[in-house]
Subunit: 791 residues, 2 copies
């Protein structure tokens, strides 16, 4: 990471020098007989390395607080192929298929979506029940101790017990994540966002990840961290989808030989969208919210049929969860039981709001935006600190344990010093009321907030009657929980940020509501602080994650009441606008810090200066339609370039005529061809008669072996290989003059991985990939260009 090169160019106004600069990089069109040029992206890097980095990058001269990795894109992330590879084999298969086959496929898709929903619902159910059981056991034991020792003065024993229990849970949770499957850390939402965007995050949708995620999150929540289980549920749904839709598991070494048609990135992505939606649906009981989440965070091309399948998966997921939870709650079949609504139902009578409150809601939204920005900024610095200094797995586990210990200590201290005693009611939301130093028949209100799973605390803040919490309790709780949650997010444990955000917001929202009560009104307008708790929760969550449409629907569905739809929208919209003024959303920050080549919705506004000629990689490594095996092996083995797509060219007539583009072939396809030794000479000599089929490619998907694992003998190196049948004969192309926004739109709308740039003779002059587009982004001073780094 130390010798990375950062390049920053000011685009303010003078485009001409840049255009000239780019001209130099252009393909020089050598007419020699050499079959390929083998420089690729390295040319750019070479150019830069000739000059000292200081000359190139004024940013490095001043002692910048921004770390270098933020101005770089990592080359370690590969892209997914969301554009179908329509080669001859594929077209032949499609043409063989009749109307009925397509209908069967469609039914299969619906069936798989149903299965995804069902399994996701089951997993959510498992997480819910295990968290409840584990946390219940823990709180039960501690409560017993506290009740026993409060009078005796031995509270420190309870405190130590609490801390030790939490530490134990978190240690196990952190160890399985750090040592077994690091990609299971965090909420998983940024990873799913990247996946749906088209970036291949290694191991993100594997079965092992799922198992670690599920047990990790159960331990994290039971371990009393300031975390939620919702993000991991979404990730779990996505993994389930990826697994089910492929009909096999590499982890289990099991191939059911079904759903083979769906073994490609395009189809898999569709199912993963459905899985993520099913996850949201199970996490919040919000099927429509789930669909919108998938669309807002992932989709680019909206397809009606796909949306309906996603919707179906979401529906089944909520249904499954509700059904099993109704059994668990002993109310078999009562699907509309209010207990199934996550944050408790807001009854219609108590939820009135008036025009006069709209400005208040907007103010709350703004406060949420600011607090969210503060949260994100602190977490941003923390994450950079972690990237720099907390690499080692042991350190990561220790940090998680430290946070667990601090959480327990702080909570205990807060409860201990709290003087907010409330009379004990029978119908109250608390399951573990702590009496502590309160009089008999009373309980400690601070303990309600801390001594509970975060979900229950949110519920209590929403629905407890006025007067349940006093100002000081809420203020202190907000403050502590804010910093705890902020510190916790990004730890090497499996945990989400939704519920902590809601909890922080609910606390200060309720505080806000109580404070409003000090203003005298005629009609007891501010009677219900629960309403403000909800708005605060929305504002805080919106300020942190910056979703609007999907979050509105999720919150409406999770509270079981649409009356607040309009104010929630207003609050979320305000929080987003205010928050965006300061810093990005939390997920986007984490994506950026990982240097992922993430493509946003649109090209930067001021990027019309740039054309395909400037952004493309050039010259391009290409193959002839019939290419020597040795050449192919050499190119694929070259470690300096790690190209994944190669244009295929053909020489139309005489030897001096230019080579025309005639197709595009992927590294993965070439690997399969080499593995099966589909060489022209050998076919002729009868050594390899079997014709390669689409099935061979599907069997190898998605984990194609590296080129090093394929042995090619010296004899074989002299053979030729005919790529005609396997290449995509109709890759999308653009002329060199195409503006960046136009290239971007084509790339994003179709989910491309490679876009060939051709001149007016249809000769290949460059190749645009995701990284070439993701490099340009809007900085504070206009368009900025990120550097590229090898992992």
């Amino acid at each position: 990471m130390a010798n990375n090169i950062t390049k920053k160019v000011s685009w303010s106004g003078e485009g001409t020098p840049l255009l000239n600069g780019a001209e130099e990089r252009r393909y020089s069109g050598e007419p020699s007989g050499g079959s390929m040029f083998h420089i690729g992206r390295m040319s750019t890097v070479d150019l830069e390395e000739e000059s000292t980095p200081e000359e190139q990058d004024p940013m490095r001269l001043r002692p910048s607080v921004i770390p270098h990795n933020e101005k770089l894109l990592s080359l370690k992330y590969e892209s997914l192929d969301y554009d179908n590879l329509e080669n001859q084999l594929f077209l032949e298969e499609e043409r063989r298929m009749g109307h009925m086959s397509f209908r069967c496929l469609e039914i299969c898709r619906w069936f798989i979506c149903g299965l995804i929903g069902f399994l996701t619902g089951l997993i959510a159910c498992l997480i819910d029940i295990l968290v409840e059981k584990l946390a219940g056991a823990k709180y039960g034991v501690i409560k017993k101790y506290i009740d026993k020792f409060t009078e005796a003065g031995g509270l420190s024993i309870s405190m130590i017990l609490w801390a030790v229990l939490n530490l134990a849970f978190i240690m196990v949770g952190a160890i399985i994540v750090a040592f077994i499957e690091p990609v299971a850390a965090g909420s998983g939402i940024p990873q799913i966002k990247c996946y749906l965007n088209g970036v291949k995050i290694p191991r993100v949708v594997r079965l092992k990840t799922l198992v670690m995620k599920v047990f990790g999150v159960i331990l994290s929540v039971a371990g009393g961290l300031a975390v939620g289980k919702e993000g991991p549920m979404i990730h779990s749904g996505a993994v389930v989808a990826a697994g089910v839709s492929q009909g096999r598991s590499t982890s289990l070494k099991k191939d059911l030989k079904i759903f083979e048609y769906f073994r490609r990135d395009t189809e898999k992505r569709d199912f993963v969208s459905a899985g993520a939606a099913a996850g949201v649906s199970a996490a919040f009981g919000a099927p429509v919210g789930g669909v919108l989440f998938s669309l807002e965070e992932g989709a680019s091309f909206w397809n009606q049929m796909l949306t309906w399948r996603i919707f179906f998966a979401s529906m089944i997921s909520t249904f499954t969860l509700n059904f099993f939870m109704s059994i668990y709650n002993g109310k078999l079949g009562e699907l509309s039981n209010p207990g199934l609504i996550n944050f408790g139902r807001f009854e219609s009578e108590s939820v009135k709001y008036n025009l006069y409150e709209i400005p208040l809601f907007i103010i709350m939204g703004a406060v949420g935006g600011v607090l969210g920005a503060v949260f994100n900024t602190i977490n941003y610095w923390l994450t950079i600190f972690r990237i720099r200094y907390v690499h080692q797995r042991c350190l990561q586990v220790m940090e998680a344990m430290l946070v667990a210990a601090v959480s327990a200590t702080v909570s205990f201290t807060m409860i201990y010093f709290s003087v907010d005693c409330q009379p004990l009611k029978n119908d109250s939301q608390e399951e573990y009321p702590l009496q502590l130093f309160c009089a008999d028949g009373e309980y400690n209100a601070m303990a309600t907030a801390f001594f509970n799973t975060p979900e229950r605390s949110v519920r209590s803040l929403f629905h407890s009657p006025p007067g349940t919490y006093n100002l000081l309790t809420l203020g202190l709780f907000t403050l502590t929980y804010f910093f705890l949650a902020c510190w916790t997010y990004g730890l090497t444990v499996s945990a989400g940020v939704f519920i902590p955000s809601l909890l922080i917001g609910a606390a200060w929202g309720r505080l806000f509501g109580i404070m409003l009560g000090f203003f005298p009104t005629t009609n007891n307008l501010w009677a219900d602080p629960g309403k403000y708790a909800l708005m605060g929760a929305a504002a805080q969550l919106g300020g942190i994650v910056r979703m609007t449409l999907s979050l509105t629907v999720i919150l409406v569905e999770a509270t079981g009441n649409v009356t607040y739809g309009l104010p929630i929208m207003l609050v979320l919209m305000t929080a987003k606008i205010v928050g965006d003024y300061f810093i990005e959303g939390l997920y986007d920050i984490h994506i950026r810090l990982q240097s992922v080549p993430f493509l946003h919705w649109e090209a930067p506004a001021t990027s019309h200066w740039l054309t395909a000629r400037e952004v493309m990689s050039s010259p391009v490594t290409y193959f002839n339609r019939v290419e020597k095996v040795g050449t192919i092996v050499d190119i694929l083995s070259a470690t300096s370039t790690n190209h994944n797509g190669f244009p295929v060219v053909v020489q139309a007539g005489a030897i001096d005529e230019p080579r025309k583009l005639c197709g595009l072939i992927l590294r993965s396809q070439l690997i399969v061809l080499l593995k099966h030794k589909v060489f022209v000479e050998r076919v002729r000599s009868g050594l390899c008669k079997r014709r390669l089929q689409l099935k061979d490619f599907r069997d190898a998907y998605p984990r194609f072996p590296p080129i090093q694992s394929i042995h090619v003998s010296q004899d074989e190196r002299e053979c030729m290989m005919d790529l005609t049948e396997f290449m995509n004969p109709t890759p999308y192309t653009v002329p060199e003059e195409t503006s960046l926004p136009r290239v971007f739109k084509l790339f994003r709308a179709l989910g491309l991985r490679h876009l060939v740039v051709v001149d007016d003779q249809n000769r290949v002059t460059g190749l645009v990939t995701r990284k070439d587009l993701a490099r340009y982004h809007m900085g504070k001073h206009g368009l900025e260009e990120l550097g590229l780094t090898h992992p």
Copy 2:
């Protein structure tokens, strides 16, 4: 219409003869000096006309019941340009604009969306209030007469009064639609769907249309037809959006000189989406539903920022409506007043459902699907009848009046013979209880259903306590209203089908609920028929219009309760699946019957047989980069071809070298160029020094004059015109071998209007337009090809 040619080819299996047939159509690449080929699509038609139509079309031999226009696509519909025309002028403008200008534009967009929402809300408010006042006055007068004459036996006078009042309303409503603005007929949703799909429906977003639509719908509803005001509200929102975003009105001859940047199809479409969403939002009080409606019915490329703007417009629209309605209802500022929820709020306590009811809901969904299919089939035949025999405006007005008279008579008869007397309660939903022959203190239940605006009837069916209606009343009402609504949809009045569908469904749903009550249960499970009324309404509406996701959200928002979300989804999904088995949705039927070249979401499944070579129009009329004015005028004036896009080619070197594609220019641009006489010679001689700017194109948008209105003298004809600056230098291209699904995907995802097909030398060989793609669709026996017809 009589001499249209229909071509039907069976694609089952043997693709070879077709491919050969297509080869003949290929561009023969004449190397002569002629600057353009001027045959285009006609070549196909010519080929077909040589053989007798009977040979070509086996369908015409048997007396087919299917009319020919259904197998044809009309050529009268032009397309919209949803792909930005990135010519030099545009790029220069974009490059001149700084970061701040783009930010200002973005703020402008938000402002416009807010304005759209506000105005749409106001219009909805106006419609609501006027309908209520007019219908209230009407029912008041009639009730007075009925009450007065029931004892005296002169009921026929009341009956005549009722019929005459209705006739008067409908006559005016039909006349303004038929004679002033025919495009204002119907619900407007199919037209908006087409618009968002990219088809230019003439006059659909004009101010005049808006005015006629608004007054038309007020009169239709007040006139007692079986119609709703929701569809027209959606259309109104779209018109408002189109008007506001352009900053001018051609009808009013007023140009505010603002928002000039937005004067192109791409931007306008975005605003129209927002307007349609705002319309839904105002019609049902469903802002999220509105956004989903816009996406489900229109969008292809999902853009997050755009979605948020649409969401904002929807939100403002509901807000405005609620605010003004709260003033109208005398409860200023009470925005969560249950009276503002369209179909009345379902209170949480009464809305429980159980697992055992899920199968019942699914059965209801299936019934809804079947009934919807019956409705659509009847309306389909009716529409064909209307297209064939009810052309004349007078006839159309008379049909509308006939329906009005029949509606009144049937309603009256039903009420008259009804023996369903119910005790009068104070808290009942009815505003105009009719006593008729019932005892004192009782009222006629049948009259509640008929003697009310449809909205109020729906509300009553949803919320009246058990026992309000008896079986016979509901059965008869369902039957009559079904046929009335079916007859009414498609009349030349401005009216929607949402509310009548809901009403039919609510009636049979309630009937279903009451019948369930006959089965003995232990726990009074079927106590509330209102729940079944809601499910029936959802099923019926879903069976007719076949929306799922957006309709679920709309119904949830319009009933103010999310508990029913899950069952509503199930019902809608079932209704869609069952209904789709029989016939398309109502809107799609109407779109198809209008022969609109509508592009669906995906290419037909079995269309991999086809490649760009077969679907493209060829040979193509093209221009040289510097072209003679006379040639341009001649081509544009040719009536036989009405091309709108022309590839621009350039001769690289020697005269015998092939012409390479270098751009694409539109008819509209050429017209503006001709109008401003931007000729090379004239510029040189100093006659036309002013350089053409983007503003000139924007001023002419969207009603470019016809070529006939532009006078070009004989001298000018000899001048040359340089197209370099004005053409789009980077049109998207595909090779000839590209499969139809791939072409389709590119076309649909990017909202293209023309797609140039090139050979491997980058020479133009064909042009694919919307009609070429829309021609292929899945018929009952596999892929079918529609013919093209000139209007």
